[in-house]
Symmetry: C2
Subunit: 346 residues, 2 copies
């Protein structure tokens, strides 16, 4: 453990991105110009923080976070961290233990005086767009759009992100599911079928009679569905039905972006996540759909990752220039905002 430090910790911040694929931790030096902080060292664990009956397991996170952050601080010569930001999937509903434990633990270990606890969508937003107003659509297996309205009456606006049965319209699971339905329609002789997609479904999953048994017992059904999305994209050039699925997906993505985006001319709109890997069969209709639904917005490339976003929020917090909406749910500031770090008696 590093010694708790106070004012000497001004130069470095700590960022954490906790999700289903693991725990990513980084330290960065605060940029002198107020720009995106420069990441100095990162640590990645492929042991995702457990979620138990009381939510995200704070002990399991701290077991990994404290030694890793200590080692990162040592490597970059940081004497503690001026601020930190922990982004976690499910922070809003499952983050009570983190809210209860992290502020004191990170204050004690690293002198962290200001700590942001953020939903992963917020760190994704900050990584993609920094502190500009706009909307970020995070699209992979699922899909959620988050918009930041930086006006005084503003706040965060979420759209979709309801999961594969209730929404996530236009996501990988949505595209793959639509492709498999079209394959089975062709198999049955129902309208709306695609022989091309049926051939691909059989090549990937074997005879379609076995498809229900290959899908329904799996705990990762959305991922199984999403695994077929690249096949739909590959068929789009020669199969109008596959192209139509991607055009529909593009419209759904633009709908979510439009619902989340604040009504500010020039608002930035960025897409993050693995879905863009589908390439032009999705990108081309998506550009058109965004231009139609959000004519006053500015398409932007995502500048960085959710881990970069956590570092950006931490740096802004350290320098008192956090402009993103702090709503106590999606983004909450905890700890010791104005006070020096508390020391335990004795």
């Amino acid at each position: 453990m590093a010694e708790p430090v106070g004012d000497g910790a001004g130069g470095h911040v700590l960022g954490v991105d906790s999700g289903g694929s693991g725990l990513r931790i980084a330290v960065a030096r605060i940029a002198p110009d107020g720009g995106m902080p420069r990441t100095a060292a990162t640590f990645t664990s492929h042991d995702p923080v457990r979620t138990g009956p009381t939510g995200i397991d704070a002990d399991h996170m701290l077991e990994q976070l404290l030694p890793a952050a200590t080692e990162l601080a040592r490597q970059v010569g940081a004497v503690g961290f001026a601020a930190g930001c922990v982004g976690a999937a499910g922070m809003g509903t499952l983050g009570d233990a983190l809210r209860a434990r992290l502020p004191e633990a990170l204050s004690d270990a690293f002198g962290v005086r200001r700590l942001a606890l953020a939903a992963d969508a917020v760190t994704a937003y900050a990584g993609a767009l920094g502190q500009q107003p706009g909307a970020v659509v995070a699209a992979g297996t699922g899909l959620v759009a988050l918009g930041a309205d930086l006006t005084p009456s503003g706040g965060w606006r979420r759209a979709d992100g309801w999961g594969h049965l209730l929404g996530d319209c236009g996501s990988g699971a949505w595209i793959g599911r639509a492709g498999l339905e079209a394959a089975l329609r062709a198999h049955d002789g129902r309208p709306g079928g695609s022989r091309t997609l049926l051939d691909r479904a059989q090549a990937v999953f074997g005879p379609v009679a076995g498809l229900p048994a290959a899908l329904y017992p799996r705990p990762d059904r959305p991922a199984v569905l999403a695994s077929f999305a690249p096949e739909v994209a590959r068929c789009a050039a020669r199969d109008p039905l596959a192209a139509g699925i991607l055009a529909d997906a593009a419209r759904h993505i633009a709908d979510a972006a439009a619902a989340a985006c604040p009504p500010v001319p020039g608002a930035a709109v960025a897409l993050t996540g693995g879905l863009l890997a589908l390439g032009d069969p999705l990108r081309v209709p998506l550009r058109a759909a965004l231009a139609e639904r959000l004519p006053d917005a500015r398409p932007a490339e995502a500048a960085g990752s959710p881990l970069d976003g956590a570092l950006a929020i931490a740096a802004a917090l350290a320098e008192d220039r956090l402009a993103l909406p702090v709503d106590g749910k999606l983004l909450q500031i905890t700890g010791h905002m104005a006070d020096p770090p508390p020391r335990r008696a004795g």
Copy 2:
């Protein structure tokens, strides 16, 4: 146990309908005119036959079936059964143990010389339409259409029945899911939303933020989705979006019926299952969709239940007048077709 009997068993047949809600057993006297057999007594168990790693558990079925059938035979004064039909959900893929055990067990116990093993969709067909050519759509939480082509080159034709993620288009789960998606679209401010359905969703499930947690961990997700279908139907009169969902469902149901129905003028088309309880908001567009997709077919009311269908198949088998397609999968005749019932030596 009744004594095994041979030729004296001509007057009665045994029917079984095994499904997720239990085991239904009936005996019937064969009608002298070749019509639907007259059910004489029935037994219902609410202990569904277990499905294990080797498929439907034959021992568990026989434990319930043998004593119940013995008692039913005693009540109606039957000295054994000339033929039997066991219909079971999953018979095609999970019925190996039943195929291995039932013929001998029912021959030994009741002198059953001819035994049909049928998928539940086949007994539903026979219960609804008897031995007429046509199509039956079984629609409740899920949806599957089965058509019987009685021409020499014909056979069974299935359409849909792929489950709530891959199909079951127009089913209760499909309608409920579409209604909840429309509710959440209204909540988010995305297009395609319905305030009316959002109000109903909140009345039924509470604040929508809790909807994912109320749905995804449940093992019976399709039933949870289907539980919202009656709300969609109730909203249809005043909400065009809800009415549109039911019109789409009607088209999907008609598509499945059309894919399954043999190309025979005057083929009968019937709908069975709980979905019709949605009433006119579904029935009216469904009548229109069926008239458009199957102009040469004859809409029919389902005459009876799957248990009635099992008895009808057994009676036809006993009298050598089974006309439904025997394909060894959906409908298989086992046992001792031409021979007298075997007797164990000793």
